[in-house]
Amino acid sequence: MTGAVAGAIDRLGLERRKIGLADAALGAWIALLVAVTAYGAATTAGFLTWSNAKAILTATAFVGIIAVGLTVIVLSGNLFSLALGQTAAISAMVFLYSLRIDLGAAIVLTLLLGLAIGAVQGFAVGAWGANPIVVTIGAAGLMEGMAVWLSHGESIVPPSGATSWERLAQPVLGLPAPVYVFLVVTALLVVVMRRTRFGRQIYLLGENRVAARAAALPITLLTVGAFAIASLYTAGSGILIGATSANASLLLTGSYTYDAIAAALVGGNAVTGGRGSIARTATGAIFIATISDMLLLRGYSTGVQILVRGIIVLVVVVLTNLRSRSR
C-alpha cells in the first residue's frame, strides 16, 4: 500500500523527487505489506466500511500533522525531534487555558508559542552545532517540568461557559475537523518543500551539510526554520487534541513523539536527510493507522498493535538504509 500510494503520488507529480528504483528487498517487503493489508481488508468484518475509513482518517489526523511537520527536520539532515509529544501536550494546555481570553487569541498564542519553542531548539542545533537528539531531549524535559510546575500537576480544562472551541472537534460533512486540517496543512507543506527556495535548500542541507556550508547556504536559518515548522505543526495538532478531549495534561500525548517518527520512517524517508518527501510521511501515517485499525477490528490487544508497528518500522528502516548505502 505504501508503495502503491507513493507511486501514484509520483505520477501525479506531487512527489518532489523519485527515490530511484526500489531495491528488490524493499519492493518485496512492500508487496508483502500490500498483500497482507488486502487480505485483511477482505476478511476483516467491518473493515471496508465508510465509518471505518472515517475512523482511520480520524486516528491519523493528530499524529499525521505532527509527522509531516517533523519530516522537515528529517529532510534537513537533523534526525528527529524527541520533544514533539511534550510540545503537543503543552500546546493543548496553553490553548485550553487561554480560551478564557477568546478562541482566536488562544489559537494564535498557542501557535506562536509552538513556533518559538521550535525556533529556540533549531537555533541551538543550527548555530552551535548541538546534537538534535540531545537538544530535543533536553527541551522535552524542560517543557515537562514547566508544565507540571505551572499546572500543579493537574489537568487543564476549558473555562466554563465557553463553547466556541467545540467547533474545532466537530464533524464537518461527516468527517471531524482535524481530518481537514491534516489534509490542508499537508498539502501546504508539500507545496512549500517543492516550490520554495526554503524547501529546496532544506533538501540540499540534508544531502550534504559540509557542501551546504561551503556553498554559503544559510544553515542556521534553515535549521531554525525546520524545527520551527515541526514545532508549529505540533502546536496545531496540540490545539486540535485539546479541543477534542476537552482537557489536557502531559499524559494526553504520551506516544505521539514515537508515532510521528514511525510515520516518517515507514514512509521511507532517509534517516540521514536529503531524500524523501512530505507525501511519503503522510502515506506512512495513514498506513500505520490502517494496520492498527485492522488489528483492533480483529480483536488483537494494544500490545500486539505496538509490536506489529515496531516490526514494520524496523524492516523499512533497515531496508531503506541498506538501499541508500548501496548507491
Binding site: 523527487r17 529546496r200 550534504n208 551546504a212 556550508r213 544559510p218
Partner: protein, 527 residues
C-alpha cells in the same frame, strides 16, 4: 623474523652512501597499468641496507603506484620485487608488514582516543591479555626513547600529541613489528621545522641500526639533507639514480621535468598581462596558524592567478581563507577596495568571493540531488520571488549552464552522482559561472580526477569567466595545469610566497625549483 636481523648486521660506523652494502630491496622490471594509463613502466630500483633512498618525481611520475606495489596495495602486472633476495608476492599490507616492509603516510593509522602504548600494540596478534604486560611496556618505552620521544609517557593519549609526534608513534608502532624497510611518503608535508628535525634524527638512527628507508618527497632540500641516494621517476620510468653528492638541485629538477624543462617559451594560450589597475581583491599578510605565513596577493579582474605548491604548501589554505572556511585566518582582505572579514562562507559570498572546494564529493556536490539542483544552488535567490521558486527560470538557467558546461540536457533530472567524474567536476564549476556580483572565483584543484579532454574544457570555462571580468585564483599541485592556465604564477612553499611571475616569464624548472626548495627565501615578494 627476529633472527634475520643478525644476517644483515650493519657496522655501526658505516658512513652514508657506501657502495658495497647489499641491497635489501630489489625491484626488477616492474610495470603497472590502470586501464590505458601506464602508471609504472619496466621500473627497476634497489635499496641498500642502512640507506635512506629518496624517490622523487613530479605528480603522475609513478611514485605512489610504486609505493603501493611495495606494500601490497597494488599488484604489479609484470616484474619482480625481491626482499632479502627472496621474491615477494604481496597480496595486502599485512603481508608486507609481516615481511618487514611498512608504510608511513600522512593518513596515520593511530586511534587518537587511545594511549600511546595502546596504539603501539594495537592490532598486534601476540599481545598477551594479562601477563608480560611489563615486558611489552619496556619494549614500547625503548622504541620511543630511540625515536627521541623520551619525554612522552606511555599513557599519554595520542590526541594530545603534535602531528610530528604522532608520526613518530606510528613509526614506533612499525618498529615493534620489526619493520626493516620503512617507506616514508611525504612525511614532512604537514610538519613544522622542529618536528621535521626530530623525524630526521630518528630516521638517521634507524638506518644506523641497519634498517632501510625509502623517502618519498617533493622537498628537494630534505632529499639532499637526509638521503644517501636519490632515484628520479618520470612518466612511470626511472630516469636516473644518483648519489646525492654527485648531483645538484638544478640537474635533479631537469631530470624530473625531462622535456618539460624546455617549456619556458612554449605558451599554448594567450595570457593576459597583469598590472592593468583592475584590482579586484587584495590580500595583505594573510596568516593561518600552522599553515600560511604572511601571504600577500593582488588579484586582478580578468586575470587568472595560479597558486603553485605541493600538498601542505598552504595554497589550499589560502583559498579556504578567501572562501570563509578558515575562521582562524588573520590579515586583511579587501574586495574592490573595501576591507571585508571573510570569517564564514556566507560573509565571503556576500562580499563577492566564491570558493569551490577541491573535494567535490564531500564539500562540493550534493551527490544524491539532481544536476539541476546542483547547478542552481548558488543562485536560488535570483531564481525566486518572495521565497517562491520561479520554476521556469530555474529550469532555463540550469539548461543554459548545462549547455555552457557541455552536459547533456537530458541528464538535468538525474542525480549528479550518476555522472562521470569529469562531468561532476564541470557541474561543480558551472554553478559559479555567469553570476553577477562575483568579484573573485577561488578554485581549489579545479580539474582533480578529470581526464585530459575534460581538463581542457574546464580550463576554457575558467578562461571565459576571467575574460568576462572576474578575477580568478586557483591552486594546483600540477605544474602542467599551472603553466597551462595561469596568467600569473604565485609559488608557495611551506606556507610562504616564494615567487610571483607573469606566465610569459615563467619556466617550468624555475617554478618547480620554487615549489620544492626553501633556500631562496622570499624572493620577488608579492605586491
Amino acid at each position: 623474523m627476529s633472527g634475520e636481523r643478525d644476517s644483515v648486521a650493519a657496522p655501526e660506523s658505516r658512513s652514508p652512501g657506501v657502495e658495497e652494502t647489499l641491497p635489501v630491496l630489489e625491484v626488477v622490471g616492474v610495470s603497472k597499468s590502470y586501464g590505458p594509463v601506464r602508471a609504472v613502466r619496466e621500473l627497476s630500483l634497489d635499496v641498500r641496507v642502512g640507506e635512506v633512498h629518496a624517490v622523487c618525481g613530479h605528480n603522475g611520475a609513478g611514485k605512489s603506484t610504486l609505493v603501493k606495489m611495495l606494500v601490497g596495495l597494488v599488484r604489479p602486472d609484470e616484474g619482480v620485487i625481491r626482499f632479502d633476495g627472496a621474491e615477494l608476492s604481496l597480496r595486502n599490507p599485512q603481508e608486507a608488514q609481516a615481511h618487514g616492509i611498512a608504510l608511513v603516510n600522512q593518513e596515520l593509522s593511530l586511534v587518537p582516543e587511545l594511549s600511546v602504548e595502546a596504539n603501539i600494540f594495537l592490532g598486534g596478534i601476540d599481545v598477551p591479555l594479562f601477563y608480560r604486560r611489563r615486558r611489552l611496556s619496556d619494549q614500547a618505552r625503548a622504541v620511543l626513547d630511540q625515536l627521541g620521544l623520551a619525554h612522552i609517557q606511555l599513557g599519554t593519549l595520542v590526541e594530545s600529541l603534535s602531528i610530528g609526534e604522532r608520526q613518530l608513534v606510528e613509526i614506533a608502532r612499525l618498529l615493534v613489528r620489526n619493520a626493516r624497510l620503512l617507506i616514508l611518503d611525504e612525511p614532512t608535508a604537514t610538519l613544522s621545522k622542529p618536528e621535521i628535525e626530530r623525524v630526521f634524527r630518528a630516521t638517521r638512527d634507524l638506518v644506523r641500526q641497519g634498517r632501510s628507508v625509502i623517502f618519498v618527497s617533493h622537498r628537494l632540500d630534505e632529499v639532499f639533507e637526509l638521503c644517501h641516494r636519490v632515484s628520479v621517476l618520470r612518466d612511470g620510468m626511472r630516469v636516473g639514480t644518483h648519489d646525492v653528492h654527485e648531483i645538484d638541485r638544478r640537474s635533479l629538477i631537469d631530470l624530473m621535468l625531462g622535456e618539460m624543462a624546455g617549456t619556458r617559451t612554449r605558451v599554448k594560450h594567450e595570457h593576459a598581462r597583469p598590472g592593468r589597475d583592475a584590482e579586484a581583491v587584495r590580500v595583505h599578510r594573510l596568516n593561518v596558524p600552522g599553515s600560511v605565513e604572511d601571504v600577500s596577493l593582488t588579484l586582478e579582474r580578468g586575470i587568472i592567478t595560479g597558486l603553485a605548491g605541493q600538498v601542505g604548501s598552504g595554497t589550499s589554505t589560502v583559498l579556504r581563507a578567501l572562501g570563509g572556511l578558515e575562521p582562524e585566518a588573520r590579515g586583511t582582505i579587501e574586495v574592490e577596495g573595501r576591507p571585508v572579514r571573510l570569517s564564514t562562507p556566507r560573509r565571503a559570498a556576500a562580499a563577492g568571493v566564491l570558493y569551490i572546494s577541491n573535494d567535490r564529493q564531500r564539500e562540493g556536490l550534493f551527490l544524491g540531488q539532481s544536476v539541476e539542483e546542483n547547478l542552481t544552488v548558488q543562485r536560488l535567490r535570483r531564481l525566486s520571488r518572495l521565497g517562491v521558486l520561479l520554476q521556469r527560470r530555474v529550469q532555463q538557467t540550469a539548461r543554459e549552464l548545462a549547455a555552457i558546461a557541455g552536459i547533456p540536457a537530458d541528464r538535468l533530472g538525474a542525480p549528479v552522482a550518476s555522472l562521470s567524474g569529469g562531468n561532476q567536476q564541470k557541474v561543480l564549476l558551472s554553478r559559479a559561472l555567469r553570476l553577477d556580483g562575483v568579484a573573485l572565483l577561488a578554485l581549489d584543484e579545479p580539474t582533480r580526477g578529470v581526464d585530459v579532454g575534460g581538463r581542457s574544457e574546464i580550463h576554457n570555462l575558467i578562461r571565459e569567466t576571467a575574460r568576462n571580468g572576474t578575477a580568478v585564483v586557483f591552486a594546483s599541485t600540477e605544474l602542467d595545469e599551472v603553466l597551462d592556465l595561469a596568467d600569473v604564477v604565485v609559488t608557495l612553499f611551506h606556507g610562504r610566497v616564494v615567487s610571483v611571475v607573469p606566465r610569459a616569464e615563467a619556466s617550468a624548472s624555475a617554478i618547480l625549483a620554487d615549489m620544492t626548495t626553501s633556500d631562496r627565501g622570499q624572493r620577488g615578494a608579492a605586491t
